[in-house]
Amino acid sequence: MTGTLRYNSHPEYAMNKTLHALRLILAAALATLSLAAQAQLSIEITGAGAARFPVVVPIFENESALPRGVSDIVKADLERSGLFNLVDIGPLALPESRVPDLNDLRSRGADAALAASVIPQPDGRYEIRFRLFDTQKQQEIGGQVLRMAPAQNRLTAHRIADFIYEKLTGLPGYFSTRIAYVVKSGTRYELQIADADGANPQAALVSREPIISPAWSPDGQRLAYVSFEQKKPIIYVHTLATGQRQVVANFKGSNSAPTWSPDGQQLAVVLTKDGLSQLYVLSADGSGVRRLATSSGIDTEPAWAPDGQWIYFTSDRGGSPQIYRIPTGGGSAQRVTFEGTYNVTPRPSADGRLLAFITRNNGRFQVAVQDLTTRQTTILTDSTRDESPSFAPNGRMILYASESGGRGILAAVSSDGRVKQRLSVQAADVREPAWGPAQKQ
């Protein structure tokens, strides 16, 4: 081992090893307990990127002053992305006030390192100061000061992880986003909202009848979804913070597949009021319904392109279900998928470059992605029952529903197919995931 780190005398390092181990065990036990209590989604990483960026995220200076830690959550976020390799330097803090020994950190294999400190404030809050360093170029990459209440440890950690992710990959992070999904236990259906890491799950709607097709409004404040509580599919818009619900489409027949326009003003939906399942557009308050397209088959699963110009959808007008797109103002539809006899559930990425969808491949339903510029299609999964793909706001990961051991689970795959994760809730069926938009800072 070459070089000695400069902070040997730091109190964290000097801490009795037994005590430290005890604290870790306690923390692990507490984490397990809260997991069981909340039926939280647990995440298992089943594949990782080829070249992972080596980075040091140490325990924060004075982190033990916090009732609930931050650095472990930052590490878990980065680890889960599959893009980072967390280089362990033990229970050693790198204070934000000093430039760490970058040569030593580099010799330990780290290309970047975080230095972070916790400073208690007189009002009971905490200041988290952090700076990120490049050990190769021997320079600071950037830093921030965040203030948090003790209970905001997770949000703060996700923000720090987002910062590191963005500085090191050039893409915005997605750790402080939320996801929506439906949990079925027996005859009980819950529409749940959780942090992107599955933590902090909360039920937005509890029902004895199915709930499907949750769709986030672009501002992340509302969800549109289909509920069967009146024995038929009806579309609601639900404001999460208040629980206010509004029926936006309850026409004679079925009302389903809501999707938001990029400006949050309109919804594209599927109605059967005039016969077969067809596409309509209405205002987000349910007024002003107009028909978008007319076909002699089924048209469903609309999804607005982020530029607002096109609506992607599934149609069997050509004999088998395929993906098409149509101008938002109406016009003639263009076919998008050509390979295979079952391509459904189109979901574009926020930058409009990629289209995720479900394809049937030798009788198995799998997540595929099409590069909308080159038209090249890649199948990303090797499972058999995939459904409902949705992109993380940065387009890097795709969340989808799958099946394992006869139960519905959620899984995620990177848009290059390399990173794979599985999220599950014990003893429940999980389905219909939807990744929320980027959080406004």
């Binding site: 902090n200 499907i212 208040t242 629980g243 027949g253 959080q439």
Partner: protein
């Protein structure tokens, strides 16, 4: 503000009308979202249940048979279902005040929303047959439950066949 409160009130009223045990809790309760900026309030959806006329539930009466089954990828009513469809059509003609809801269903393979659209075709097939036999359009609403309400939950062909069906519900049952 009035606009926002109205749906919650309506939902509460609907629940009060339909469940004799009194309305389920529908009020919006605001919780603080620990650790993050915005909260999520939990809402319980009202549920409906009710029963119809004696003849509709008497097991000796064909009107208590409510399911029409379909072949794989098919939306055609089979010959074996004809007596059932004819009996319901007769009942609707004789009781023009009666309303029905036809729920189409599919097996679980494939996209939920696409299956919802396929289930609609099964409901519409029964609706059209009833109308041909004299029932009025205004008496019938055809909807789809897609793959959401399977009668049988195993992944076998026998089970899938049970789930490819349309169910008839009378006023008071929906």
């Amino acid at each position: 503000m009035k606009q926002l409160v109205l749906p919650a009130l309506l939902a509460a009223l609907l629940a009060a009308c339909s469940s004799p045990g009194g309305p389920e809790q529908t009020g919006a309760k605001v919780e603080d979202r620990a650790g993050s900026g915005s909260g999520v309030a939990t809402v319980t959806a009202p549920s409906v249940s009710g029963s119809g006329i004696a003849a509709l539930t008497d097991p000796n009466n064909i009107l208590s048979k409510r399911s029409v089954f379909f072949d794989f990828d098919s939306f055609v009513i089979k010959a074996e279902a004809k007596p059932l469809v004819e009996a319901h059509a007769r009942f609707l003609v004789q009781n023009p005040q009666m309303r029905i809801l036809i729920q189409g269903n599919t097996d679980e393979r494939g996209s939920r929303e696409y299956n919802l659209a396929l289930g609609q075709k099964r409901a519409d097939a029964v609706k059209q047959a009833l109308q041909l036999l004299g029932a009025k359009e205004g008496q019938i609403e055809s909807v789809s439950l897609g793959e959401e309400k399977p009668r049988c939950t195993e992944s076998s062909d026998a089970c899938f066949a049970q789930n490819r069906r349309s169910d008839i519900l009378y006023s008071g049952e929906f």
